[in-house]
Each structure stands twice: as C-alpha cells, then as structure tokens.
Amino acid sequence: MSLLVLDGVTKAFGGLVAVDGLSLDVRPGEIFALIGPNGAGKSTTFNLISGLLGPDRGRIVLDGADITEITPASRAHLGIGRTFQLMQPFHDMTVVENVMTGELFGHTVPKSLAEARRDAEAICHMVGLDQLVNRDVTGLGVANLKRLEIARALATHPRLLLLDEVMAGLTPTEARQAVAVIRQVRETEVTVLLIDHVMSSVRDLADRVAVLNFGKKIAEGSFQTVAADPDVIEAYLGTEEGDTHQH
Amino acid sequence: MLIFGVLRSGLYSLASVGLALSVGVIGIVNFAHGEFLMLGAYMGYWLFASYGVDPLAAIPLGAAGIFLIGSLTYRSAIQRVLRAPELNQMLLTFGISIFLQNLAIILWTGDPRVATVSYKATAVSLGPFTVGLPQLLVFAVAMTLTLSLYAVLGRTRIGKAMRAVAQNRLGASLLGIEVDRVYLLAFGLSTALAGTAGLMITLQLSVSPFIGLLYTLKAFAIIVIAGLGNINGVIYASLVLGLSEAFVEFYVPQGGGWAEGVFFLLILLVLLVRPQGLFK
C-alpha cells in the first residue's frame, strides 16, 4: 500500500498551470525524488501536499485517508513534515525553541515544555546543531539554517518528510553530511520525498525519481532510467543554464 | 445629489492620491498624511487672514512649503525605516501624526478657523442645478491637479522613474535610477498634494488641528477601495466614496451622522470581500 498518493492534482495561478494533472505514488520507507527544471511545479506540489495551497482538481491521499481538504496543521498531525526552500526560521526564538515548536505542536503526543526541550535537543544533536541550541537564529549561516529546517520538520515526527532543496547552497562537504542525515532519517522508518537540483545527491539517495516539466510528469523510475530518458534530457538541455551541475 | 457627490469626490481624489503615491512608490502607509493636509489648510488660512491671499492663488507657495516640510520629514525619519518591519513604519508615521496634530494645537489652539473669501456664498447654475462657486472651483482645481499627476507619472522621465521604482527597486537602481532621490521626491510630492487639498479646504470648511485624522481615514478608505498602491484607481474610488456619502446623506433619515460611518463600512467590506481593491 502507498503512503502518499496524488491523483490527477492540478493547480493554476491565473492563466499559468503550475501543476497539471499530476499523479504520484510514494511507498512507505522509500526515498523519492522530485526533479525538474526551475518552474516545473515542484515547490507548488510540496505546497499542495502540505496544505498551504488547495488544488483546483484532484485528490491527495495519505495512508488511505483523503487529506485534500484539511488544514496544514491537521496534515502535520497526520504525519506530514516539511522544510522550506527559502529558509524561514522563527526569529525571536533560539535554535532549540524553533525545534521545540515542532515537538509541541507537530504531532498528537502531548509533551511538557521540559520533554519537548529534551527531545528537541536530541534532534539538534542528530542534525549537527548541538553547538548552537541556545543561539538566536538571526545570523546563522546557510548550512545551519538548512539543518534547522530539517530539525524542525523532524520534530513534528513525520511519517512523510518533504525536503525542499535542502542541499542547495551547501559546500560539497556539507552536502555529504546532509545526505548522511537523510539516510539516518530513513533508518527511523520515515519516508522521504525530496526536491533537489544537486544531481549527485539525488543519485546517491533516491530509490525512485519522478521528473516534472511544465507541471507534468514526464518520466519516473530509477535515477539511471530517467537520466537516460530522451524527454528528460531535452527538458533540461532546453531550459537550463546551470542547475544540473554535478558536485 | 449626484452633483454633490461628484463635486466632493474631486477633493477626495486630491486628498488621497498623494497617499496612493506614497504607498505605491515607496511602500510607506503614511498615517500622518492628513496632518500634512491640515498644515496646508493652516498655511492657506494664515496667508488669507494676514495677507489677504486667496487660497487658490496660494497654491504654488503652499504646495512648495508643504513639499519642504514633507521632504524634511522623509530625510529625518521615514528614510530610516524603509527596510524596517511594516509595524515600525506604520508606528513611526503614527507618531509623526500625533506630533504634528498636537504641535498645531500648541501653535494655533484647537479652535476652528474659517477663511471667508468674498465668493464663499456665490452660487452658479449648471443647467438645471445650482452649486456653490467654491465647490466648483475646488473640484476643477483638484481634478486638474490629480489628472496632471497622472500625466506626470505617465509621460515624464521622473514619472517613469517613479513607476519603475514602484515596480522593482533593485531593477530600477540597476538602470541607474537614484532610488533614494525618487523616494524623496515622491514623498515630498505626496505631502504637497495633501497640503494643496488642505488649501482647497479653507475655501469651503473650517480649519482645525483635528481635520487631519478624518482625511487620513478617508484617504485610507479610498486607497483601500482602489487597491493599495493603485494610483490610477483613486479617481474612481473617490467617486464611489463621494457618491455613497451623498446618497446616505440624502436618503437616510439623520443621514448626516450616518454618512460619517459610510467610509468605514466601505473599508471594512472591501477588505473583507476583496482585499486587493475594487479597481485592480
């Protein structure tokens, strides 16, 4: 049985169809990558899954339950956690407080502030933020902000983790660390759906890959299969300047 | 009734187009907008009472004076919060508003002043209708100025620069437009337009330190109806406000009191139903 199913999901902004009849099928325990040129509709797809946007048509099903109409908060409680491409930490909070917010609200197990703090600190440790738990988030560098994004999402104890370009802007070393963290997350039986432009990371991580172009799915399969697909090659060569770079 | 509403909307356009300019170009919602109008009105009253200058003839001087005060305000305060959170911008202009209003109370007391021009009670007939000459003059001048502002924005280099900055600050600066100068000019112009509207007010109504708030709120109503930052929608929005006020005054019992509430209700409805404005 699938963990997440998108069934003919469509979303248009004015005249622009950002996601066009998209169907996806993510299985429990896998790492699934969504790739495609800029503007292909990847981030819109994430917003539709996490509930920040409502689709014009189509259904979204999590573990057999239709979640198309429910609020982002309810989806979080059902087990969808996500990061944001443009890092959006809560200012006016320290690193650990940012993560605690997920521990306190992101799932249905009630926790005291002390328990939430303890668990949040453990997550900070896991993603490599243990030196910074009591820092204000203002002034953190890109790599640490990306770690914080992952930590906050993990704190909601997701069954499905949506990672929106967590590798972008990282040095090769930092990207390798992030790959290790994501592998570790999968060990805890969390299913991962990720968007990324860093092809080497996608190749190393993803069990399956779907390629979007102009809101439509043009290929799906293992990394090797889609990389060899002529449509995919054309989509990238036709529009890209430097996004397919390999590290 | 129609004529009444239309005539009034002329002054409303002039009083609010400056605020639309400030919001549209600089992105500053100026709560002190009405206070600049109030200062203009006092300037008109003072020139009239001391030197017998007709408020209409005082427009160039008055506008220049308020432009100067507005530019000073921009340089000493507004400029520093351009990148600050919206809350800070709003509160800063709020502070300026309270400051200017009470400064006026200290300088000129809270008593209302009236400038009685010789043609104050003169009426003219327009076909079957009779309207006051001051109202007609105010409408004509206000519409001329508002339309000239549109022409300036549409045709001249500086107008194009303003529109470019309004659309994309970074892009405009890359094109070699000095964004800061444009902002200064836009803010000065915005306040000068309010000041001119204030001068017009001395022709028909009394002047007091408290009129500023009322016009700030009306200007808000108009730019909210037009869509925040939509300069071209201001004339239509002013018509909507002027006509609905006149309608309530004429057809609702005790309409004078209810008319006061019309614009608040309009703001509330537009914000709740169509937050992007009616004319956008």
Partner: protein
Amino acid sequence: MSGRQAVQVLALAVVLVAAVAFPFWANRTQPYYLQIAINIISFAILALSWDMLARTGQLSLAHAAFYGLGAYTSALVTTRMGLPIFLGMLLGSLVAVVVAAGLGMLTLRLRGIYFAIGTLAFSETLRVVTNQLRFTGGATGLVVPPLLGGQRVPQYLLILAVLLLAVVVSWMVNRSRWHFAFTAIRTNEAVAGAMGVDVVRFKVLAFMISAFFAGITGAYYAHVFLFISPIEVYSLAVSVGALVAPIFGGLYTTAGPILGAVVLRVGEEILRSTVQRGYPIIYGLILALVILYMPRGLIGVWASVKSGLATGRKETREPAGP
C-alpha cells in the same frame, strides 16, 4: 531558588504590598493621586491586553471597540434592565469577547497594515452606530451608576485585581506552549501551520483574551467615571494609547507594557500640569524616537545596559562548522 530569583520575588512582593497599601495612604492625604493611579492601572491593563494580541502578529487598532463595547453593554444593562453592576461588567466583557471572536474570524486573512486599517474601520463604525442610535443615548452619552458605592479605595483594589489577573494570564501565555504558537504565528503563519500549529484557533483565542481585558476595563471606566459618550470610549486615543505603551515599554513581554503605561501616564500628568494644551505631543515624539532609536523599548534598553555591565563575557560565535 537562586539568589537572583530570591531578589526578584522579594522585589515583586514589595511592589505588590506597596500597590495594595497605596490607596489607604492616598485616600487620606492625596485623593487625586488615587484617581490617577486608577487611570494608570486601567491603561496598563489595556496595554497588556493589546500586547497579548500583538504576540500573534495582529496589530489591532480596535481596542477602543472592545473598551467601548464593555462600557456600553454594562451601562445599558445596569441602567435599562437594572442588573447588578458586577453582572453588567461581566456581560460587558463577554460581549467584547464574542464580538472579538467574530472580528477575529473575519480578519484572519488580513495582514499587517490591512489588519490595522480594517480593525480601525471596525472600531469607528461602532462609534458612528452608537452615536446614531437612540437607545445608546446617541451623541449625548449615558449617565452610569457608580461601582461599589463610588468609594475610591475598593474601586482601586478591584482594578488592581484585574491587572493582577491580566499579569498572570500574560505570564502564563509567555511561559507555556502558547508562547511557541504565538511567536511562530507572528513570525510566519504558513510555516507555523505546516509545523502543526492551529493558526486559526490561536489567533482567535488571542483576540478573545485581549478583548476580555479591554472590555472589562471599559466597563470599569463607565462605572467609575459615571458618564460615557461614543466620542470618548470609542476614541482613537484609546486604541493608540493601548499600542504606544507596549512599544515604549517593550513588546511581547509582561513587564514592558505595564512599565510603558506607568511611565507614559506619569509623564503625561506632569506635562498636563505644565504645558496644559497639546501635551499628547509627547506621545508622538516618544513613538517616533522609540521606533528610530530604541526598537526594543525600555525593557530592551535595560537588557543592553545589563549585558553592557557584564563585561568580559565573550560573544558566543557560531562555529565555522566541523
């Protein structure tokens, strides 16, 4: 308990004892001071109530609306229906809470300046309506029966008790999971929602808590000053005062709004007796200067003074990464 905490608790106890003892002294020697103290405390409750709403990012210009609703409801049910005053005040604050829930739902989508303008419009609409209706006494206003037989000392103690309640609520909000929800919503609603925070619920709840305190303060005002009119209780000055004090004192804290309210009102009293007219100019100046030069308010200044004193402590720097 550490030494510092002990000092803090002791200081709080001293303030509390002084606040409770004050009216018994003032009533004999300086009755006018008692009236000022009542004013200051009411203002502090309004400021704290505004701040609790602002913690969710909702910058209200509608505090006069809740204040006025409290005042008018209580005045009307006590004079027209003969209900006891305490019941009237309770009903007044309940009406404010219910209206706040409705307004909160309606304005959920409005952000920043739109929210401010929308709430201002709501408040002014109420003023105009009250002004026009006959059963509210119209523009002339209403004469209101006195609370607690018009005795200042018990009146003072009552409003002090309301302030204490507001302090406790504010303190609990800032030290519980609510603090995380409020701050998250204020910083970024979309992210807060995606992290499981029920944005609608907390925003509306904040509105209701805030309106409760504004409403009860308005009702109290009516029964202490015995006369209300639309222009007075639905005045923009009420809404502006409620926001200037927290900004001056320090936003999103419990002590800041109270400190701001006390300093502003005392300053205003001194100014009122020296310049007579136009004294609110100081509000304008303070607001502008605070925004330009001390964006974190008095509390922020105090914090930087403290950290400045603790010299030799190194800034914790972000490690360059492993």
